[in-house]
Structure formats: structure tokens, C-alpha cells
């Protein structure tokens, strides 16, 4: 076993250490905190690269397990593993993380709590890397929860703003609902297989013997146990990855600083759900995968619809993220690990790029986030514009850009899925919508005249010091645009590692030999499918141009083009299809009612009982006190008085006159002698 496998634990531990040290630093030690975070991330990146090289050289899975603690005669073991899946994720997380850390130097430069920010960010990175290398569902779950915690902390980073605090709470609670499923699934898995290690030389829970037993057991409604456990674990994944109906927290999470949105809520953490499903893929039976596929497809379509009518630049991207996560789940459901993971990786790069680009725009426009109040930024921020355009084309699936290859593969797999064509159609329409809403956004933000900010709502955030409202938009500093350029390169070119002709990525993950073969394009249905998906993308772009680009948008107060055409639909979409309201009327109302009922129960029934008991006790107490005062205490006080009087009497024996003392001896002699002699006689 090579050194890198043995010291793989260093990769997550280094950022965690950096976080621990940062937590102890003073607020003024900004430079040290940032260097710790970036330095540890850099070393982790280098280590991740060597791990990747190791996985390239030896694709077989390598695990290191150790006993953590003992219950009775059972050991709870933890461990880490290195396989192509983990290696790819490691490189992605460390690279994107490193770039975003660097970008944050510029973005957070004016924030008072710079140190705290980097502390949380490092902690997040450590925990996320822990999720990636965990070889035990328990270890994964622990890191998973730390990731959730840091997400909460970072969404609420500007906790002075009520919206941010509420969003942090919402994110935490919503993901916890999914985590409950994951926890139950984990416990059930432990009960069934007796171990939580994924791979343990044949004895792990993802290995043949355990899988066979679990598949053989049948539980409620004729489901195999492994299906049930898989679905429960998927609950956790759905919560983290914002799948319908647990997606509501993700758009609100955009209240956090933009680098956080980019790192956690676009590139890595939300993808952890997808990664979890990929990790426990052997556990997923066909029926479980069907659920995953349908949920993914519905999410992809649903979120794309909502994104069409949003006006906040980050919210559009957030719904887009939800939609793309749906695609990944769809890819896992209908295809294989490689299909979903490929999109995960490409998406991580181009969505991080888009978020950072959006951050750059926000930074340059003095914290403006409403796209209606932007416009014409192409001239002011050329680098941002160009990189943003690359990210947008990648996201739309424009031919030859990264997103094109990965999304196409998902659609290809969905097309070939035996159970139903439904997910395919949902995905295809989603692709069209994606192109449309991104075009809309880009036209609003970068084209047309510069729109003044008279309609500005409340200024968002005060973290950039005094708001320089009237200032001209300006290009962001190099420390921010540098990462954009790097990410743009990846967004453009990364797709080529997984084309049908040269499916290197897919064969790397599945461990099969790879070759370059143009003939694979001739596979029946592939070329038409690619063409049709390209047509859909062009249609979306064209539609967007038709509505938003044909004539420049002059005033931010003008109604949206789509709004003029279809006010009803636009209104519904703008209100996010009333999902939040639906939850408000159902789940939250129910909880309110239950809590009111419990409160009533508590106050009147239990409280009444308690009060009755307390009245009884007080009554008894009165009785007792009376008895005590007049019977017991009276006697006791009298006794005590007598004792004290006796004490004074005895100490008055101590007259101080020695003659009297000596007389006492003589008296004692006489009394004792008489007593003994009398006793002897009697």
C-alpha cells in the first residue's frame, strides 16, 4: 500500500487543523488566517493530485480501516478509501475550493469577520473532504453533519440580517429532515449487516455477502430491505442536494456570501448528496434507482421552470443548481455512477464559475443583486463577461462546451431507459428552459444600456463598508478574476475527457480500459439525439434573444417580456410555484397546530395535574408546618433551651478556684467507692 493511501487522512485533517487554529486567532490576524486556509488547501490539493495519480496507476480500491471504539465485544470501525470515484471528487473539491478561497480574499476583503469566514470555510472543506474519503457510513455521516453545520454557519454569516438568519435556520431544518431518513437508514443498515464499513475485504456492507442477504430479505409492501435502506439514504441525499420537495432551502441559502454560494451551494456540498448515492450505488436496487430517476427528472424540470421568472442574479443560479442536481440524480437513476458523476464534475466547475462571476458582478455593482437594475456591464467588466459567457454556454449545453457532453450523456441514458420515457422528456424540456433562462439573465445583466438604480430595493448587506451607490460599475481585482479565468478554461474544455469517442472519465470510474474510437458516434440514435438536444439549446437561446435581446431593455421597472405574454404563468413562476406557500399551509400549519395542541395539553392537562399535586403538597405542607411549629418545634426548642442551660450550668462548675476542683476529686472518689461497694453487697 503506497504512502498516499496511508496518509490520505491528511487531506481532510489539514483544513480542519487550519480551521481549529483560525478559531483561536484574533480578529485582526486576517492575513494569517487566510494564509492558513489557503496553504492547507493548497497542500491538500497537492496530496489529492498524488492520490489521483495513485488511482490512475492502480485503479483497484484500497481501504484503510481502524477500530474506533468498543461496545461489548463489537468494534465500531472507521476507515478511509481511495478509488477512482473518491480520487476524482478529491481533486475537484480541492481545486474548486482552492480557487474559491483565493477569490474570497478579494470578495471578503472589506468584511470585519474575515478571520471567522476563513475558519468556517476551512472547516467546511475539511468535512467535505472527509465525506469524500470516508469508508464508513458512520464517518461519512459525521462529516456530513459537520458539512451541514458549516453550511448553516456560512449562510448565516451575516447574521445581522434577519433574512440571512432565517435562511440559515431554514437550510438547517430542511436538510435535517432528510438526514433523519439517512440516520434511520444507517441504523437499519447496521442492524442488517452488522457493519457500517463500506468495504472491508469482503465483510463490508457494500460487498457481495451483505448485499445478497439484504436483497433476500423482504420488508413492507414487498420491498427488499436493501431497497428500503437505499431509499432512506436517498432521503438524506435529497435533503442535501435540494431535490424536490426538499429544495426550498437552497435558493434562500443565497443569503450567504457569494463565495459560499459558489463553493458550498453550487460546487461541492449540494453535490455531496449525489456523491452519497454514487457511493452506495451497489445498495441501490432497480426500484430504488427508479425513484431516484423520477425525483431527479421532476427536480430538473421543476426548478428550471422557476428559474425563468426570477430577478435575483443568485437566485436564478440557485434554481439552476437545483435543476442541474436533478439532472445528476437522473443520470444516476437511469444510467450509471459515471453518467451522474461526470455531470457533477463539469457542473462543479461551470457553476462555481457562474457564481463567482455573479459575485464579481455584485461586487462591481456595489452589492446590487437585481438583474433589472444592471445592464450593459459587458463594457465595464470585460473579463467577467467573457468568463461568465463561457460558464453560461457550458451550463446551457452549447455544443462542445463541458455541459454539452455531460448533459447529453444523461439524456442519452434517459432515452435508453427501459421503464419510461417520462424522465427523458422532462430532461429535454429542462434543457430548453435552461438555455432560455440563462440567455434572459445574460441579456439583462450584460447587454443593453446601463440602467440606473432608482428602483433599487433595500441595499443588500453592509459588508462592503459604506455603500458607494452612485459609483460606476468596475471590473473586479485580479485576485477575483484569476480564478474566473481558470474555471472558465475548465468549463470550456473539461467535457472532452468524457466524449462518446474517448470516454476516458467513464472508463476510469468503472475501471475498464479506454480507447479512442470515433466509430462510437455511429451508435444508433446517438447522433440524432445530440442533434436534437443541440436544436433544443439553440431554440432556447433564440427564444431568449427574441424576448430579451432583440430590443434593449431600457428601464428596470418595465414588466418582463414573458410577463407581458403570459402574466398568469409568469406570476406563478415568479412566486416559485407556491412551494413555500404550500409548505406553509400544510407542513408548517400542521406543526403549528400540533404545537398549539401540545401547548394546550401541557398547560391544562399536565399542568393541571401538576398544579393539583402542588396544591395538595402545599396543603400538606401547611398542615405539616403547623404540626412542626406547635408540636415538634415547641418540644425541641424547650429541649434545646434545657441543653443550653445545662451547658451553662456545667461551665459554671468551672469556678476557677482550684480548691473546689480538688474537692470534686474527693467527692468522686467517695461516690464511686460507695457505688461499687454497695453493688458488691447487693
Amino acid at each position: 500500500m503506497s504512502w498516499i493511501v496511508r496518509s490520505l487522512w491528511l487531506i481532510p485533517v489539514l483544513p480542519m487543523l487550519a480551521a481549529g487554529v483560525s478559531a483561536l486567532l484574533k480578529r485582526e490576524q486576517r492575513r494569517l488566517s487566510a494564509s492558513l486556509a489557503i496553504g492547507s488547501m493548497g497542500i491538500s490539493f497537492v496530496l489529492a493530485l498524488s492520490a489521483f495519480a495513485q488511482a490512475l496507476a492502480e485503479p483497484a480500491r484500497q481501504v484503510v480501516n481502524f477500530g474506533w471504539m468498543q461496545f461489548g465485544n463489537q468494534w465500531v470501525s472507521l476507515g478511509w478509501l481511495l478509488d477512482p470515484l473518491a480520487a476524482v471528487m478529491l481533486v475537484m473539491v480541492t481545486l474548486v475550493g482552492l480557487l474559491i478561497f483565493i477569490y474570497s480574499l478579494g470578495y471578503m476583503a472589506h468584511d470585519d469577520n474575515f478571520t471567522r469566514f476563513f475558519c468556517f470555510l476551512s472547516l467546511f472543506a475539511g468535512a467535505m473532504l472527509g465525506v469524500v474519503i470516508a469508508n464508513s457510513l458512520l464517518l461519512l455521516f459525521m462529516c456530513w453533519e459537520v458539512v451541514g453545520l458549516t453550511s448553516y454557519l456560512l449562510i448565516g454569516f451575516w447574521f445581522q440580517r434577519p433574512a440571512a438568519a432565517a435562511a440559515a435556520k431554514k437550510a438547517f431544518v430542511t436538510t435535517r429532515i432528510g438526514d433523519l431518513g439517512l440516520l434511520i437508514g444507517m441504523v437499519w443498515l447496521y442492524a442488517q449487516s452488522g457493519t457500517l464499513l463500506f468495504y472491508d475485504h469482503g465483510a463490508g456492507c457494500l460487498e457481495q455477502s451483505a448485499l445478497t442477504t439484504m436483497a433476500a430479505h423482504v420488508t413492507i409492501a414487498g420491498m427488499a430491505v436493501s431497497t428500503a435502506i437505499g431509499l432512506l439514504i436517498f432521503c438524506g441525499a435529497a435533503g442535501k442536494s435540494g431535490q424536490v420537495p426538499l429544495h426550498v432551502w437552497l435558493p434562500d441559502a443565497m443569503e450567504g456570501p457569494t463565495p459560499v454560494s459558489a463553493l458550498i451551494h453550487a460546487a461541492t456540498m449540494v453535490a455531496a448528496g449525489v456523491y452519497l448515492v454514487a457511493r452506495v450505488y451497489p445498495l441501490m436496487t432497480h426500484s430504488a434507482l427508479a425513484v431516484v430517476a423520477w425525483v431527479g427528472a421532476i427536480t430538473a424540470f421543476f426548478a428550471a421552470c422557476i428559474a425563468v421568472a426570477q430577478n435575483d442574479i443568485k437566485r436564478i443560479l440557485a434554481y439552476s443548481t437545483v435543476s442541474q442536481l436533478g439532472y445528476m440524480m437522473l443520470g444516476l437513476g437511469v444510467g450509471s455512477v459515471a453518467v451522474g458523476m461526470f455531470h457533477l464534475i463539469t457542473h462543479a466547475f461551470f457553476k462555481a464559475l457562474l457564481f463567482l462571476g455573479a459575485g464579481s458582478v455584485i461586487h462591481g455593482c456595489s452589492d446590487e443583486q437585481d438583474i433589472r437594475n444592471m445592464g450593459g456591464l459587458r463594457r465595464f467588466m470585460p473579463v467577467t463577461f467573457l468568463t461568465y459567457a463561457a460558464g453560461m454556454l457550458a451550463l446551457c449545453g452549447f455544443p462542445l462546451f463541458a455541459g454539452f457532453w455531460s448533459k447529453d450523456e444523461i439524456l442519452h441514458a434517459a432515452h435508453g431507459w427501459g421503464l419510461s420515457r417520462g424522465p427523458f422528456y422532462l430532461g429535454a424540456i429542462g434543457a430548453l428552459l435552461t438555455a432560455f433562462y440563462m440567455t434572459r439573465q445574460v441579456f439583462y445583466v450584460f447587454f443593453g444600456p446601463r440602467r440606473t438604480t432608482e428602483t433599487r430595493s433595500e441595499p443588500v448587506g453592509s459588508h462592503h463598508g459604506p455603500v458607494h451607490a452612485a459609483a460606476e460599475p468596475h471590473e473586479s481585482p485580479g485576485v477575483m478574476t484569476g480564478p474566473l479565468v481558470v474555471l472558465a478554461l475548465f468549463a470550456t474544455l473539461l467535457g472532452f475527457v468524457g466524449t462518446p469517442a474517448w470516454p476516458w472519465f467513464q472508463s476510469f470510474l468503472s475501471g475498464t480500459p479506454n480507447s479512442f474510437d470515433l466509430a462510437r458516434f455511429n451508435e444508433p440514435g446517438l447522433i440524432p439525439l445530440m442533434l436534437s438536444s443541440s436544436v433544443l439549446v439553440f431554440a432556447g437561446l433564440l427564444l431568449g434573444w427574441w424576448l430579451y435581446g432583440r430590443e434593449p431593455i431600457l428601464r428596470g421597472t418595465d414588466p418582463d417580456a414573458l410577463q407581458r405574454l403570459q402574466p398568469g404563468i409568469f406570476h406563478a413562476l415568479a412566486n416559485r410555484l407556491y412551494v413555500d406557500e404550500f409548505f406553509g399551509l400544510t407542513v408548517i400549519a400542521l406543526t403549528r397546530f400540533a404545537s398549539a395542541f401540545s401547548s394546550w395539553l401541557d398547560r391544562w392537562i399536565w399542568g393541571g395535574a401538576v398544579r393539583l399535586v402542588s396544591f395538595l403538597t402545599v396543603g400538606l405542607g401547611w398542615l405539616d408546618a403547623g404540626v412542626d411549629r406547635y408540636l415538634v418545634n415547641g418540644g425541641f426548642d424547650a429541649g434545646c433551651r434545657d441543653l443550653a442551660r445545662g451547658g451553662r450550668l456545667f461551665s459554671s462548675l468551672q469556678s476557677g478556684r482550684v480548691q473546689n476542683y480538688l474537692r470534686v476529686i474527693a467527692a468522686a472518689l467517695v461516690v464511686l467507692a460507695v457505688l461499687l461497694l454497695w453493688g458488691r453487697r447487693g
Binding site: 441543653l643 461551665s651 462548675l653 476542683y661 467527692a667 468522686a668 464511686l672 457505688l675 461499687l676
Partner: protein, 490 residues
């Protein structure tokens, strides 16, 4: 009389000799070389020599052979006497440690030497079964203690206490000697086991009963049992604090041990019973009466005291009562119960006097001066808490187990439950004693002291000694078997 091998005598009394040499050495040094030195220096040198002497003596005791005896019971060493010797030496060592911080006298050499001489006397007292030697050793001890009591020549109280102590002591020594001569007359022997053999018979001689009463008076004075306690409050109050602590600890251990030896060895046949219904004359009823009287008188009178020293004096009388119960029980385990009680009592009371001495140097004497002590000297306050709670018999401190063993021994006394009345009385008096001990602790911990009171400065040797004593009290309480096993193994 048989010839005495002086070499043998020298060999057996090596620990005593070591102590005497140390005493003479420090006396000489102090009177010659150290005369012009400052007081603190003289105290530390003297204390150092004394401690070295004690340690040497402890080593010699530990190394000496297990049993030995000289003719006529003049000098008898048993494993049990070794234990008591070591305890006495440890107590002497701690007393010396505590006395180094005192500044009431400039006769340093004499003071420390007297403590050592008293200890030598006690060691002889422990190691003899001969009436004559017992009396001589007892007088040796008493004379040393009289001087120690009156050592503070600037204090009228000290002189008064010493004089009362001396007069009372002289009188009771007379009674003791009278009693002993009666015993000799009855048995024709001054060796304890032989006396027992001679006086055994179907009925008791009236003269023997008189002798028993007189011996009880003599030793009752030494252990400060009522009604022979009258010297104690005055002596405790007048004496320099460390002397008082020494009288309350070391001399108690030695006196109780020899008292037990005399009554159990010499007067074994004349035990009698003190049952509530079946009363037969003998020393048991005498001691039971003295015990009851001491407990009642000591504990009740302690309530009325305003001076901490007098309070401790009266509580010492009460404790003497509890210990006499162990005598009265007269069962096989009563000797080890008595020893455990008296040793732990000696530790706690020496500790309490040590704390008191440290406080008196700062002008704290009356109980109400203790208010706010917890803020002024938290360490001393905590140690005082341990000592007083141990004296009151709160578990897990050693005082609790002392009382427990004594009461258990008394309940096993023959005939069955005959001493129940004594035990019930003792338990009731323990409850009373809790009141005055807690009264002191309330002053220490609850009552607010004067706001401007400065923190107390406690000399390091005192602090070490007090903490050592507190640690011993806690350890022996948590693991009483440490001490008990020591008695039973030997």
C-alpha cells in the same frame, strides 16, 4: 530481682536514646552557638534537629525486633507498642513542625527539647508493664507537660493554667500512687499480669474496688475525663497553642493506651458489668459512669463557649467519654477500636490546634473573630472544616469511622446489648456536638467578616503540617483498613 543486662537495655531503648540525644544536642546548640541568632533561625535549626531525631527514632523502631522483654515487665516491646511508638513519633514531629512558626518565647531549645522529652516519657510509658515504671514515666510526662503549659511567661493565663494543671496533677498522682500501692499490697507484685493472677478469685476484695477507683481517678485526670477534667479548660486556654495541641494529641494517645493496658492486664478478673439491669461491680461500671458523665458534660458545656480553645477543651472531654466506651465494651476488638479512635482524634485535634495557632498569631481567638476566615485564609479554613467535621464524625472522614468502630464494639459487649444505653447516649451527644462544630464552621464560611480584613499570612511549616494532618484525616477516613490492618497484623 533478676540482674538486668545493660547492653540489652541499651539495645532495646535505642529509639528513646536517639530522641534524647537529639534533644540534648539541640539544647546545647541553642544555648551556645545559636544564642545570638535571630529567633526564626534558632527555631528552624532546632526543629530540623528534632525532626531528624524523630525520623531516626522512627527508623530504629521500624528496624527493631518484633518482640522483646526485660524481667519484671520493666520493658516490654510488642508489635503493638511499635505501632504506638511510631504514631507518637509522627505526632511529635508534626508538633515540632507546627511550633516553628510560634514566636511566644525565646527559650527555643528548651521548648523543643521538652516536647522531645515528653515523647521519650510517653515511649517508656507505652513499653512497660511495671507499675513502678508506669508511675515514673507518667510523672516524667506530666512534669514535661506542666512546663510546656506554663511556657509562655508573658501570659498570666499560661501561668495560671499551668499551676492548676500542676496542683490537680499532683493530687491525682497521689491517688494513683495510693491505688497502685493498694494493688501491690493485695497482690504482692508490681508486674501487671502477675497482679491479675493474684487478684483473681470468687469474690472481689473491697480494697481492690477502692484501688480500682483510685487508679481510675489517676488516669481519668490524664485523659481529662469528667469529673477529673476541671484542669483541662484552663490549661488548654492558658497554654501556648502548640502545647495545648500536644497535650490534646500525643499525651492522649499514650495515656489511653496505658490506661487500657492497666485495666485489661492487671484488673482483668475484676471487670464487672455495666448493664442497665445486670450491674456487677468492677472497673467496667466505673468507666461507664465516667464515660457517660464526660460525654454529657463535655458536649453540653462546649455549647456555651465563646473561645475556640475552651470549645476544643470541652469537646476533648466529650471525646474522652466516647473513647472510654471502648474500654467499657471490653471485647476483643475494643482495643483496636480505641486505638483507631484515639489516633484519628489526635490527628484532627492537633490539626485544629495547628490552625488555631496560625490564626492566633494574627490575633484571632474568639469564635466570632473567625467570621470571614474563608476569604482571609481559604486553605486554613478548608483544613479547619476537615478537622472539625472529622471531630463531629461526618463520613467519610476518619472521625466517623472512629465512632463507628467504638459503638460497634460497645454493641458487641457481653452480655448482649448491655451497653445499649451508653451507645444511645453517645449518639445523642454526637448530635449535640454537631451543633457547636457547625456553629464554628458557620462563622468561618457563612458569616461575613469585616470588609477590610487583610488576607492572613500563614508560615510555610505550619501550612505543610496542617495540610499533612488534613490529608491523613481524609486518607484514614477513606481507607480505615490502612490503620486497622496495622493493628491486627501485629
Amino acid at each position: 530481682m533478676n540482674a538486668v543486662s545493660y547492653l540489652e537495655l541499651l539495645r532495646l531503648t535505642l529509639p528513646e536514646i536517639a530522641l534524647t540525644v537529639a534533644a540534648l544536642l539541640l539544647l546545647t546548640l541553642d544555648l551556645t552557638l545559636l544564642r545570638p541568632s535571630p529567633l526564626a533561625r534558632r527555631f528552624s535549626v532546632a526543629a530540623f534537629i528534632a525532626c531528624a531525631g524523630c525520623l531516626a527514632a522512627i527508623a530504629l523502631v521500624a528496624a527493631s525486633s518484633a518482640t522483646a522483654s526485660l524481667p519484671d515487665g520493666m520493658f516490654v516491646l510488642t508489635p503493638l507498642t511499635h505501632v504506638v511508638h511510631i504514631v507518637l513519633l509522627v505526632l511529635a514531629l508534626l508538633t515540632v513542625l507546627l511550633s516553628t512558626a510560634t514566636r511566644f518565647t525565646d527559650h527555643v531549645g528548651e521548648y523543643i527539647a521538652l516536647i522531645l522529652f515528653a515523647t521519650v516519657a510517653m515511649m517508656f510509658l507505652i513499653a512497660t508493664e511495671n507499675l513502678l515504671l508506669i508511675f515514673v514515666a507518667l510523672e516524667f510526662l506530666s512534669l514535661s507537660l506542666y512546663i510546656l503549659t506554663g511556657f509562655d511567661k508573658h501570659s498570666r493565663q499560661s501561668a495560671e493554667g499551668a499551676l492548676k494543671y500542676f496542683l490537680f496533677g499532683g493530687m491525682s498522682a497521689g491517688f494513683l500512687l495510693f491505688g497502685m500501692s493498694l494493688l501491690y499490697g493485695l497482690s504482692g507484685s508490681i508486674e501487671l499480669p502477675r497482679i491479675a493472677a493474684a487478684v483473681s478469685g470468687p469474690s472481689l476484695d473491697p480494697l481492690l474496688l477502692i484501688a480500682i477507683v483510685m487508679v481510675a481517678i489517676g488516669f481519668g485526670f490524664k485523659v481529662a475525663a469528667a469529673p477529673f477534667h476541671l484542669w483541662a479548660p484552663d490549661a488548654y486556654q492558658g497554654a501556648p497553642t502548640v502545647s495545648a495541641g500536644f497535650i490534646a494529641s500525643s499525651s492522649k494517645v499514650a495515656s489511653f493506651f496505658i490506661f487500657a493496658q492497666v485495666v485489661t492486664l492487671a484488673l482483668l478478673p475484676a471487670a464487672g458489668t455495666a448493664g442497665y439491669r445486670g450491674y456487677t461491680p468492677g472497673w467496667v461500671p466505673v468507666i461507664a459512669i465516667i464515660a457517660a458523665l464526660s460525654m454529657v458534660l463535655g458536649n453540653l458545656a462546649a455549647i456555651a463557649q465563646t473561645s475556640l480553645r475552651r470549645l476544643l477543651a470541652y469537646s476533648a472531654i466529650g471525646h474522652a467519654g466516647y473513647m472510654l466506651i471502648a474500654f467499657a465494651a471490653h471485647t476483643p476488638e475494643s482495643l483496636s477500636a480505641l486505638l483507631y479512635y484515639v489516633i484519628t482524634y489526635a490527628l484532627a485535634s492537633l490539626g485544629a490546634f495547628g490552625v488555631l495557632g496560625a490564626l492566633e498569631a494574627e490575633g484571632v481567638d474568639r469564635i466570632r473573630d473567625l467570621a470571614g476566615l474563608n476569604r482571609r485564609a481559604p486553605g486554613m479554613a478548608f483544613c479547619l472544616l476537615i478537622f472539625l467535621l472529622s471531630l463531629a464524625g461526618i463520613p467519610p472522614l476518619s472521625g466517623f469511622f472512629g465512632k463507628f468502630f467504638v459503638f460497634a464494639a460497645a454493641l458487641h459487649a457481653e452480655p448482649h446489648l448491655s451497653l445499649l444505653w451508653l451507645v444511645l447516649l453517645a449518639v445523642a451527644m454526637s448530635a449535640v456536638s454537631l451543633y457547636y462544630y457547625l456553629g464554628v464552621l458557620k462563622q468561618v464560611y457563612v458569616t461575613e467578616g469585616p470588609a477590610d480584613a487583610p488576607p492572613l499570612r500563614i508560615a510555610p511549616p505550619t501550612r505543610i503540617g496542617v495540610w499533612l494532618l488534613a490529608a491523613l484525616v481524609v486518607i484514614l477516613g477513606c481507607a480505615p483498613s490502612l490503620l486497622l490492618n496495622w493493628f491486627s497484623i501485629h
